[in-house]
Symmetry: C2
Subunit: 466 residues, 2 copies
């Protein structure tokens, strides 16, 4: 197959492809909101129909305990590698709605970008391999490898049902390699190839003092204040500048070889521009690491939310009986989520004031850090495909977070995963005015054409190695 | 006038008085809720009508920028002292409604108590001087002193319009002494006489990091976390065990003479029972002071509410851009609210992390601590009235909080105030199932009869002295 022919087909089909993506983006498939259950089913059906239109023979909408998985299998030929393409059809909620310049589910093209909830994450990004399949099939009759598809509907709610689903369907899903169409590029001018990603573990801390809120004047000075206990506990988990003081938190952190740190130092990073974009006065974190290192190879303990007592207008002078905080850990190789959670629980037991009751609850949705084999052949051919399309070598990239799927597919199926995703970090993912650059979408389609060709030429065994 | 005759009248009139109080308690006069504006007007009208029924000649409903003040003047005779009776007809909101055993505005008598929102604070307590006026008038034709009444409708929202109101009407309100029918007794078996109360100053701290909430994985490690900044700042304001570390916070705190501390040590306080009642594991606060001293003569810095980031079910891994806290200071003589607020502002300026923006906002509704002249003749006769009714000497009591009116009436009118209020600390004030003991209500009526008689016999000049 000549990639130039596929490129020509993609150029001719551009309006049709965009129109299809717009149809998909119009469906408000917000997995977090029960009222959107109908839209979730509609999006799954749209995807399944689209896979069938692309000639996928075995297409199924498979139930889970939550939203269904859309599965497909395009059998090209025995002996060719089988690659499992991952993506998700669910999107984040749209709040705050007032900050959107165009409605989140009325996709609009402005300045070479398509704006909509999901335009990048992940409907836009998962559309790239589908358009590439359309192109290679049109040019060559069939893709140059066997393709399986797994599009889940719960990524934005931490994939709570994915692990049992994959375990149950491990035969059906068997593949030589997994490719995630979810992920991100470093920036629009810098192709990047993901070689690592931080894992995650999440917890809630609940503090209770007295039985009920009390009059602040009548009881202040003798009755323990739940908020004071919580803020003291949280403040005691960090030294200045981001260092975590929870004993055991840094256990098993892989020492990063100097060669890797030198490579990371080559990543283009304009701190002033970054601060301006985010509206931040100064960057934070461990001074002995560069900002990119702090994002990529250092774990963090992060408070995501806190609440307790009176939050209305003005003042209500209560002595608060309860206070709560939600926290996540971002983990690096070779930290183990449960080991870190146990360390935090131990810290809380040791440091919580004795006069309040403190409980720690672990959330589901843990993920181990992702670290790809540096010399895996799939990374080599993916780098080649990116170079052909972008005209330059991709830089090694590590994501600040990871995908639960990356960890699950390795553990359940023994399958390596690479990220091949064409949105950039600045696309307002999870925020108002989410967008996808049309140029990045085009590049993604052409890159997937080349990736399919290159992976198809590798021995299946070589993809499974390592 | 023979107090025994008044007592007999009160005993005969008990059912009628209770029925009147029930009518008053049925009016849902919640000052904080705009939807209850009509009920507020209804309660003011009820009070004004009731004052007229008691023979008060000059009764007016006077507007303020918020809810109106009910004013009345019962002129007995020139040369007699004029005493200004204070109370408030507004009540607290009723949330959580589900915890009420009977509806808050359907008063119910159970076990010798009347249950309703406002049963104690302050409708029940302000009814005592009104019933006493009814009795002395019935027995003697007129009260033995001149009475003025000031019943405000905004005490539960910190009296934001009271100071300008009193300033504007200072001639109308002029009196030799003020008596507050709002306050509290130590317990039902221990009559107490308020000799002090902690002042109050309130503020809000707002922290902003990045322009918007960000993806916790993508930015965690370099972008300042507003919640971390806030919890660190709040934790840094306290040493362990309640000592405030804000420089200047303890400036001007009056050193309490040993004699006063010995007197305080006589206050009956059963720590185990107190803990059990409140559901608290252990008491908190400065160990070098007794629990009663911590409540009465020590200032506190108290967080009343905190919020920031994600507070919903489950986890949303945001890096929060904003965090907020509301705080109050409870102040003792001779702390000045504005001096303390300035000290906190300075602390925040010095200790806030440089990479976030932190602002401090002072709330209106400041009150200086209340400290009554120990040898004021009004205290002496009030103690005598309590001893006659309770059969024992009252203990000196200091309130954990104070009333904005106590400070305002002294500054604007130069008038001393005593507290003469018959609810106890355990009456579920501001909480579900608020109640008033009928026995305490009866005692209050009889004590006011005696207070009126004793104050009427004092030279007006002596009441104004000090």
């Amino acid at each position: 197959m000549d990639p130039a022919l596929a490129d020509a087909y993609l150029a001719q089909s551009r309006d049709r492809h965009l129109a299809q993506l717009v149809t998909f983006l119009r469906i408000p498939s917000i997995s977090a909101l029960p009222a959107h259950r109908g839209a979730m089913a509609e999006a799954a059906t749209w995807l399944a129909d689209h896979l069938r239109d692309l000639g996928t023979t075995d297409v199924r909408i498979l139930p889970t305990a939550g939203h269904p998985v859309v599965y497909g299998h395009w059998r090209a030929a025995d002996g060719l590698p089988t690659v499992l393409i991952y993506g998700h059809y669910d999107v984040q909620p749209v709040d705050p709605l007032a900050e959107w310049e165009s409605p989140p589910f009325a996709p609009e093209i402005r300045h070479g970008r398509i704006y909509a909830r999901g335009a990048m994450d992940d409907k836009g990004m998962l559309y790239a391999p589908l358009a590439a399949l359309d192109a290679v099939r049109s040019v060559a009759g069939a893709p140059p490898l066997n393709l399986k598809f797994l599009f889940e509907g719960e990524e934005e709610i931490l994939s709570p049902n994915l692990e049992p689903f994959i375990h149950e369907h491990r035969k059906l899903l068997g593949a030589d390699l997994a490719v995630s169409a979810d992920g991100a590029m470093w920036d629009a001018d810098t192709p990047s190839l993901t070689v690592g990603g931080r894992g995650v573990a999440a917890l809630q801390i609940d503090v209770r003092g007295a039985r009920t809120d009390l009059h602040g004047g009548t009881y202040g000075g003798v009755v323990p204040n739940a908020i004071d206990a919580l803020t003291t506990l949280l403040a005691g988990m960090h030294a200045p500048r981001g260092r975590v003081t929870v004993e055991g938190f840094y256990d098993n952190v892989r020492s990063v070889p100097d060669a890797e740190r030198r490579q990371i130092a080559l990543t283009p990073f304009d701190e002033a521009a970054y601060r301006t974009q985010l509206g931040v006065r100064a960057l934070d974190g461990e001074p002995e690491f560069t900002p990119v290192e702090r994002l990529w190879i250092r774990p963090v303990l992060q408070v995501n939310g806190i609440w307790g007592g009176f939050q209305g207008d003005g003042i209500k002078m209560v002595l608060p009986a309860e206070a709560h905080a939600k926290l996540t850990c971002r983990l690096v190789p070779n930290q183990d989520p449960d080991h870190v959670l146990a360390a935090i629980e131990r810290h809380v037991r040791l440091h919580a004031p004795a006069d309040v009751a403190v409980t720690v609850t672990r959330f589901p949705g843990r993920a181990r850090p992702y670290l790809m084999l540096a010399d895996h052949p799939a990374l080599t051919v993916a780098a080649g495909a990116l170079k052909e399309v972008y005209g330059k070598d991709p830089i090694p990239y590590r994501m600040g977070g990871t995908l639960p799927f990356a960890d699950i597919v390795k553990r359940e199926l023994g399958t390596w995963l690479i990220f091949f995703a064409f949105g950039e970090r600045d696309c307002q993912q999870h925020a108002p005015n989410e967008f996808m650059r049309l140029r990045s979408l085009d590049r993604g389609m052409r890159a997937y054409v080349r990736l399919f060709a290159a992976l198809g030429a590798i021995e299946p065994r070589a993809l499974r190695a390592g």
